[in-house]
Symmetry: C2
């Protein structure tokens, strides 16, 4: 039976795809790849490039990166309906997604629109925060500790509570509200227990202890912070 596969390509290094993902890509009839800008490059497609068979039909589709929900929903619904048609025509359809398809992924919105109509399978991928910890050779979480993953776009009170409750924090999209995050860390005395990693496992990977930054620093878009309350991360 034809199926729809959501495939995580991991954080950037093509070697960080799973064997399962690379095998699946070989067997597909159609592959959808998301790109943020018209005429732009699909980052996920670029990562999976070494595994794409020459004759695979690739459908690059544009996912608008805007605040307006109605605009985004319109594009998700159109792409979902195209995917349903392909699967109902008997084709095995893949959809590439950066990192892990279950973690802050646009794939989830496509999934929600198709899963009552066609068979689906999700292939886990290495998330950016898992790769960040690996690239630093630092544990994310140990023993009875807690780990929270939180986007910097949440409100200040929630971020403050998360920082108070947890032993370890991953703060995603940290560039977006950098000043707020920096000030909360400073107030909690955690500046030397936090590290920012940008473009993990990609060519432009940058690792920066927060002690080397200020509240006014400008960070790259794909920057994620790891905060460990029980471990100094700078000497």
């Amino acid at each position: 039976m034809a199926k729809f596969y959501g495939i995580g390509v991991g954080p950037g290094d093509p070697d960080l795809l799973t064997v399962k993902a690379t095998k699946l890509i070989q067997q597909l009839d159609v592959l959808y790849t998301p790109k943020a800008h018209h005429g732009g490059v699909s980052v996920a497609e670029k990562i999976a490039q070494p595994y794409l068979p020459a004759d695979l039909e690739i459908k690059q589709r544009h996912f608008p990166m805007v605040k307006d929900l109605a605009t985004k929903e319109k594009s998700w619904t159109a792409i979902a309906s195209e995917i349903v048609s392909d699967v109902q025509a008997g084709r095995d359809v893949g959809f590439l997604t950066l990192g892990d398809p279950s973690v802050y992924s646009t794939y989830s919105y496509i999934l929600a629109r198709v899963q009552d109509q066609i068979a689906v399978e999700t292939i886990a991928g290495i998330s950016s925060f898992s790769q960040i910890a690996a690239s630093l050779s630092i544990p994310l979480v140990l023993d009875d500790e807690l780990l929270t993953v939180v986007p910097a776009t949440t409100d200040e009170a929630t971020l403050k509570s998360a920082l108070a409750l947890n032993d370890n924090l991953v703060i995603m999209k940290v560039a977006t509200h950098w000043q707020m995050v920096y000030q909360l860390l400073a107030a909690a005395g955690l500046l030397d227990q936090a590290i920012v990693v940008a473009n993990a496992s990609m060519a432009g990977q940058e690792i920066t202890p927060v002690q080397q930054l200020t509240a006014d620093s400008k960070l790259p878009y794909f920057a994620t912070m790891l905060v460990k309350k029980h471990q100094r991360l700078v000497e």
Copy 2:
């Protein structure tokens, strides 16, 4: 230069290793594999079996699963010192670990004992909670939501706070304190928003909505729970 590699083998399916992990295993001189019981099987080694070259030297080492910290530390220190000797003798040494080496992994204790003496590199793996979400085709976390990973072995007050603060919770080792977890979920009205997955991606995988369980249910050791506050997981 010879190096020590911590290699995540993922949750159970050999296809869930990364391409990077499978390439690395081919190039090693020695591979350490952990097992919980003397004379037992190394679960991580079994998962990586399809990728092990016939002539690879494998050192199965026993990691005692006991409460006594001194006993555990003694074995970590002995194994770490053996690894340091191997690398200092010019051999590339691997160490297999279930799931992701950065998430509740014994590898972290070995790492802490060797990283000042020899070169190390950590290879991320698919964590059990990432695979659980994938196997259910449910997002772990979306938009501005928070995700917390917490072991059921934490105290009740912390678990209650975590449940109050977060949109999504992964509760590890949920069999250990099942009654407490069940009662907290019931009190929070979340029984139909929680699912237990045991042995994710392995032969004995079991998926059970919490609505089908009681406070007295017995769960398998490798059972993990996913709680989503904003999504009913049973009809």
